[in-house]
Symmetry: C2
Subunit: 250 residues, 2 copies
């Protein structure tokens, strides 16, 4: 699992290709506000899966990690403490693309000792809408709704300029793999972090990189998926930022 | 975990309220073809979660179970064999509603001995589009894409009137609980299967039923969420089809 610091170091080089693809997809889908909604899966303490919709809040400054926000009282906080493994499914309707982003969650609560993450939490708070900030002072999510609590849903939103309220948490997904599928073109690319010295994988990935570059050029020629196959250069370059890309069958 | 037979028996009575809500939501979101896309979370054999987008194919005939289709070669088939627990997240953009549907998966492959499920699998096959049927004769999903396989992506679709191809599977989600949230109205209702003799839960649920009925009446008065609270009748009726509904804090 990539630590945030390590991710920040590699991000100083070029962004990994999966991030470039996501940013391009978000731009093409920006007419739909809910294209920033993704489904986040975690595992409950009893071993069963949990899945809910969350809002993508952007990439972490200086890193290729995804950020979300949550309430410290929510079930996903306890779930990720016991098992940080997570997978996000992100469906983008305009371009008919899906990203599956696999990684480990890091919940940044009030008092977190990592100064960069504490700053990111504060920034996320400032960027929230009034309606978004209000939810963090509502009664405990998931508990039975009772009449005595109703006034609490009507209180004014906490100030965006002040400290985040105690229950406001930033959620960071440190990315380990990305599975990208383009349903218009019937293309699928799996991005994974390269193992050091894995020259065979690098060679295999080089041809896929060319295919992926063709896919990311946009427009699409109808998706027969035959471009770039089998053209492995003799001296393959290392992939960007330690990632390999492999085109696989959809 | 409810067996399909038991679900069919209770469905002979009125549909559970969560199903009525889903059907109403689908109608209101029918302008978006992708409102039938949901995210399905399972657990991988190594204990990490998996999450991907699948298409809702309707309720199982005679039951309140959700159906999907999949390729027997897909990872979710192996995952659900080892751990059938699943959760679907369903976000509906027009109405800003989310359903989280928790339950157990049953994969119906070729040669399944359950005659009703085998018939449902055949019906699902017939209802697929040509493009949908084609995918089940494509090269093994997830394996590296190679030039020698490209012609296989171009072969004609298998006949809808014939037997489903061997790799075509129906996936049934037998529902155990539903967590419904309406983001426009800031209302949330949890539906769970009633334990026999759980009179206290039935009494608590009765007030929530009234609130849920107000929510399901549609239109919405602005979502202050105060209707029906605290009005527990002295002699609460049993909830429909063995389900309880509890309004909880969003």
């Amino acid at each position: 699992m990539a630590a945030t610091g390590a991710a920040a170091a590699t991000a100083a080089a070029a962004a990994p290709q999966w991030r470039t693809l996501i940013e391009r997809s978000l731009k093409k889908n920006r007419s739909l506000a809910y294209s920033r909604y993704v489904q986040l899966a975690t595992v409950r303490p009893d071993g069963r899966p949990a899945c809910r919709t969350v809002v993508f809040r952007g990439f972490l400054d200086g890193a290729d990690a995804l950020t979300f926000v949550t309430d410290r009282r929510s079930e996903k906080v306890g779930q990720s403490a016991a098992n940080p493994a997570a997978e996000v499914a992100w469906y983008l309707p305009v371009t008919r693309e899906q990203y599956r982003v696999t990684g480990a969650l890091r919940v940044v609560a009030a008092g977190d000792g990592d100064a960069a993450l504490a700053a990111a939490r504060r920034k996320a708070w400032t960027n929230m809408s009034d309606a978004g900030r209000s939810q963090f002072v509502w009664p405990h999510p998931g508990l039975p709704r009772i009449a005595a609590d109703e006034a609490a849903f009507l209180q004014p939103a906490p100030d965006s300029a002040g400290d985040p309220v105690a229950d406001f948490c930033l959620v960071v997904l440190n990315v380990e793999a990305v599975d990208y599928i383009n349903l218009k073109q019937n293309r699928r690319i799996v991005f994974s972090q390269q193992q050091e010295g894995d020259a065979a994988a690098a060679a295999a990935a080089a041809g896929a990189q060319a295919a992926a570059a063709a896919a990311s050029a946009g427009g699409g020629s109808g998706g027969d998926g035959s471009e770039g196959e089998g053209e492995v250069p003799r001296d393959p370059p290392l992939t960007l930022a330690g990632w390999t890309a492999t085109e696989v069958n959809p």
